[in-house]
Structure formats: structure tokens, C-alpha cells
Amino acid sequence: MFQAASAKLAQTLLVLLIVSAASFAFLKLAPGDPVGIMLGSDYSKSSYDQLTHELGLDRPVVQQYGIWLADFVRGDWGTSYITNQDIFELAVMQALPVTLTLAALSLLIALVIGIPTGVMAALYRNSWADVLATTLAIGGNAFPSFYLGILLIWLFGVDLGWFPVLGFVAPWEDFWLGMWHLVLPAVTLGAWYVGLIARITRSSLLEVLGQPYILAARARGEPGWRVVWVHGMRNVLMPLVTVIGLQLGGMLRGAVMTEVVFALPGLGMMVTTAVLNREYIVVQAGIMLTGLLFVAVNLAVDQTYQFLDPRLRRR
């Protein structure tokens, strides 16, 4: 157990190192000369050389990477050329919480709608619930989230006027106003997950309901809801967590689009703006941060297995 955990840790550290090297490589590959950009249009050869030296750009690449990594770990991510803002502050303190709040709320909406739909679909096969689950699964998964967002803005924001169209209010500053602003974006992003969750719930529940212990529970005279929601759902949790974790890439893809459509100042918006402005140092911070997030979620999904399934704990 301890050995397995330390092997996992070593592997994760290696991936983190690769992620950081890739982010650094991106900055090196990016077109344009950072020294030229910082100095503007008018500079002398000596001031150019001096700044190059100060930034450490005249050292070997491996050494530059070492310095960059040390700065990165310390939270010294540089400042934006355009807004003069500290990039760590911008990415971690401002953008990241927005994206995480959006993702968490969408996931919540998707679970609240997806799980009951999947359960109904499994219990009443070929009924309307089953048809709905399949339709949601195919439609929600394929429908481009940025167009769905536009449609929701049009219908609920402009036409009916129920929800604000754009902008973000932090729920930790004004909870209800923040939630009100987040409803449409969260539905847009969550729509993508609903079908997936419904489909996985349905198929895993169908599999579980045929097991002897379910029959035994029924034979003991346990009420139907208990059989399904307690005995059945316990075994649906694992595939559900796996799928949610595996689809994080899709979630982040949707989050970028949703943030841009609804003008939410999250990571997706930050990276998009930075690419458009050719602010590669900010893009790189976004790349590094999403990479870290990705690795962290994969690790977390791995760890939840033991928590969700006692059979895995001994090994």
C-alpha cells in the first residue's frame, strides 16, 4: 500500500515536471522577442544586452528553466505587459476561483438532473424517461456549448429577461446575486454533462440490479427505494466518478467557451484574451495552471476509488 502510494507520488511528480517543462518550452517557442517587447520601439544595443542579461536570457536553456521553475514555485509568475498586473494574482486569485465555481455549479446541476433521469431510465426501460436520457446523452454531448449559451442568452436573458446576460458577481461577496449571474452559464456547461451522467447511471444501475445481492435485498422485503438508492447506487458511484474525472478535458473545453460567451473572468477568458493579445507569458500561466488542475483531478479520482469501494482498500 505504502509502496504503491509512493510509486504513484513519484509518477505524479514526474508528470508535473513534464508539465512544467512543456509550459516552459511553450514560452521559448512563442514567436516574438520578449526583450524587444519590453523595451518598446526605441532602444540601444547596450540597453538590449543589459536587459537580456538581467532576465537571464543569455544563459543556457536548462539553467533558464531551473530559474523559471524556482520562480514559478515561489509564486513569482511575472507581470502582464498590458495591464501591469501580477500574473499569479490574476491567474490564481482571480481567474481560477471563477472557473472552479462555474465548474462546481455545472456539475451540481448535471448531477441533480442526470442521476434521477438515469435511475428512471434504468427502472423503466424504453419508457419516456429512457428516451429522454438517451436524447440528452446524445444531444447534450454533441451540442456546441457556445451556441447553446447564445440561445440561452437570447431566450432567458433578452427575451424573457429572467437572468442577467453577461458578467460575473462573486458568490462569496454577494451569494444570491452571484448565483443569479451564474445560472445561465452553469446550465450551458452542465448540459454537456447531464446526458453523460444519465447514461452512465443507467447502464451501471442496470448491471447492478441483476446481481444476486439485490435479489436478496428484495427477498428480505426491503422497500424498493432502498434497494435502488442504497444498495444499487453505491455501485454506480464508482463508474460515475471515473467518467466525471475522465471528462474533465471536455469540462474545461466547455468552460472556456462558456466563459467567453458570458464574459466571465475565468481561466478560459484569461487564456483567450492573452492569445489574442499575444501575451504569451499569461498564456503560459494558464497552460501550467490547467495542466496542474488536470493532474490533480486525475490523482483525486484515483484516491476516491479506495474511499468509494472498500474492496479496493486492502490491496
Binding site: I138, P144, I153, I287, T290, F294
Partner: protein, 293 residues
């Protein structure tokens, strides 16, 4: 003896029975295929079907609803939406298939090399693949676009690069499974060259899961392509691209909902069709999922 060597390749009739028939038996997959065929026809014959030059602007005729002159209306530049829709289908399908094909070739090559060579080569190659897989596709594609610059061709390269990881990892996994089978050993002992072993004995055994994966990737590629263009970091105007069209129509959603509606609905239907076909392919190749369907 040649029979013994060919045992790995699936004969034609068996291919039909094992793959084509299960696929055609699924109504949803056939429906998806039919829709895709319509899109392909529209894309191929776009020059003949279009009524206008897709990039021709006519400011006098901007923001018009559907009419006899402009079947699906016009956008804010007076460009004909019907013609742009057709050429947009062409662009989406070309970028979708080209990027997946490129990513597949590069990924399979890396996976084969890693799986067959082993040792240090494998370690280095798989760490590169780990690096690619450590990022969400869209972020990876955005990063590549930032390095490569905007434009249709660069979208293909950026998407292809972001698909290399999954293909490489899959191929390597399959190769490792196949590599130690007795028939590979037998072929090697009989003096079959490594290239022939790869081509005739390894590839046929790894190709079907990879093709299924490719089928499902095409819809992701088209979604990413239109998404990148929507964000303004993909194809550049006035190229008739659905993502660009949706972005352009966004500002006119209350006055002229058809500007984003025409490409939006077209994109959604195509993606649903591709997903239906992709699911069908997966089920047809994987007998374990068939009992549930």
C-alpha cells in the same frame, strides 16, 4: 504456411459479418451515417449548389431574413448565409478529417515505435506523450495556435498535435498486448522482417480500436475547430467558417437570430450525427457493449 501467417488478418467476408452488419443493424448509426453523407455531398458540390460567392459582401443587402434572393438570409456584411453554410461544411469536414488523420498517423507512429522498441526510446517517447496528455485538448490547441499563428492550415496542425497523445498511448498499449503473443514470436523465428511483422501482424490487430477512436475524434475536432474560430483564434475572416459565423451573429441575436442560427443548427446536427456514427462504430467493434444496446 501462408495460412498460418495470415491468421491475424480478418478475411473480407468475416469483416462484413463482424463489423459491417452489426453497424448497419443499429438504426441510430445508420441515421448518423445518412446525415453525414448529406453533409459530405453538400460540401463536395458546394461550388455548384451555392448561389453566391461565400465571401462576397453586399452592404445594401445586410441583415436580411430568408428570401428568394438569399435563401437563408444574409449577415451584417450582406454575405449570403446559404452559400457560406455550404462552404462552411466543406471547411469543417476538411479540417475535421485532416487533423484527425494527421494526428492518427503521427500518434500511431510514435505508439508503434515506443511499443516495439522499448527501453530508453519508449521511456522518452511516452514521457512526451504524458506531457501532451497532461493538458485538456482545447488548451493544448490554443497554445499551439498561439505559437503557430492564426489561419486554416495552422488550425489543422494545432488540432492534429493535440490528438497525437491519445493515439500514441492507445497504439502503444495495443502493441504491448500483441507483442508477446506466440504468433509474433513464431513469425520472428521464421525470419520475417520487423517491418513485415509490424505491417502484417501487429497493425491489423491494433487498427480497429484506433479507427473507432478516430471516428469519435472527428466530432471533437470539428467542435474544437469551430470553437477556436468562435474565440477568434482559429480560421480568419472572411473564410466561411461556422464558428466565425456564430461569433458574428452573436451581436445580432435579437435582430437577426438566423445569422448564428443557420451555422449553429448545422453544426449541432453534424456533431450529433458524428456522435451517433461514432457510438455505432464503437459498439460494432466491441462485442461487450452490444448486449446493452
Amino acid at each position: 504456411m501462408s495460412d498460418a501467417l495470415n491468421i491475424t488478418a480478418i478475411p473480407d467476408s468475416q469483416w462484413k459479418r463482424r463489423f459491417l452488419q452489426p453497424l448497419l443493424r443499429q438504426r441510430s448509426a445508420v441515421a448518423g451515417l445518412a446525415i453525414i453523407v448529406i453533409y459530405v455531398v453538400a460540401a463536395v458540390f458546394a461550388p455548384w449548389l451555392a448561389t453566391h460567392d461565400p465571401a462576397a459582401q453586399d452592404l445594401m443587402a445586410s441583415l436580411q431574413g430568408p428570401s428568394a434572393a438569399h435563401w437563408l438570409g444574409t449577415d451584417s456584411y450582406g454575405q449570403d448565409l446559404y452559400s457560406r453554410l455550404l462552404y462552411g461544411a466543406q471547411l469543417a469536414l476538411i479540417i475535421g478529417f485532416a487533423s484527425v488523420a494527421l494526428g492518427l498517423v503521427a500518434g500511431v507512429a510514435i505508439g508503434l515505435a515506443a511499443g516495439l522498441m522499448g527501453g530508453r526510446t519508449e521511456w522518452v517517447l511516452m514521457r512526451i506523450v504524458d506531457g501532451l496528455l497532461a493538458f485538456p485538448e482545447l488548451i493544448l490547441a490554443m497554445a499551439f495556435m498561439a505559437v503557430l499563428g492564426l489561419g486554416t492550415e495552422n488550425v489543422v496542425y494545432a488540432l492534429a498535435l493535440s490528438f497525437v497523445g491519445p493515439f500514441a498511448r492507445m497504439t502503444r498499449g495495443d502493441v504491448l498486448q500483441v507483442k508477446n503473443q506466440p504468433y509474433i514470436e513464431a513469425a520472428r523465428l521464421m525470419g520475417v522482417t520487423t517491418a513485415a511483422i509490424i505491417w502484417r501482424h501487429v497493425l491489423p490487430n491494433v487498427v480497429s480500436p484506433i479507427l473507432v477512436q478516430a471516428g469519435m475524434r472527428v466530432s471533437i475536432a470539428i467542435l474544437l475547430e469551430s470553437g477556436l474560430s468562435f474565440l477568434g483564434i482559429g480560421v480568419v475572416p472572411p473564410t466561411p467558417d461556422w464558428g466565425l459565423m456564430i461569433a458574428e451573429g452573436r451581436a445580432f441575436i435579437t435582430m437577426a437570430p438566423w445569422i448564428s442560427g443557420v451555422p449553429g443548427v448545422a453544426l449541432a446536427i453534424l456533431l450529433v450525427a458524428l456522435n451517433l456514427l461514432g457510438d455505432g462504430l464503437r459498439d460494432a467493434f466491441d462485442p461487450t457493449t452490444q448486449k446493452d444496446a
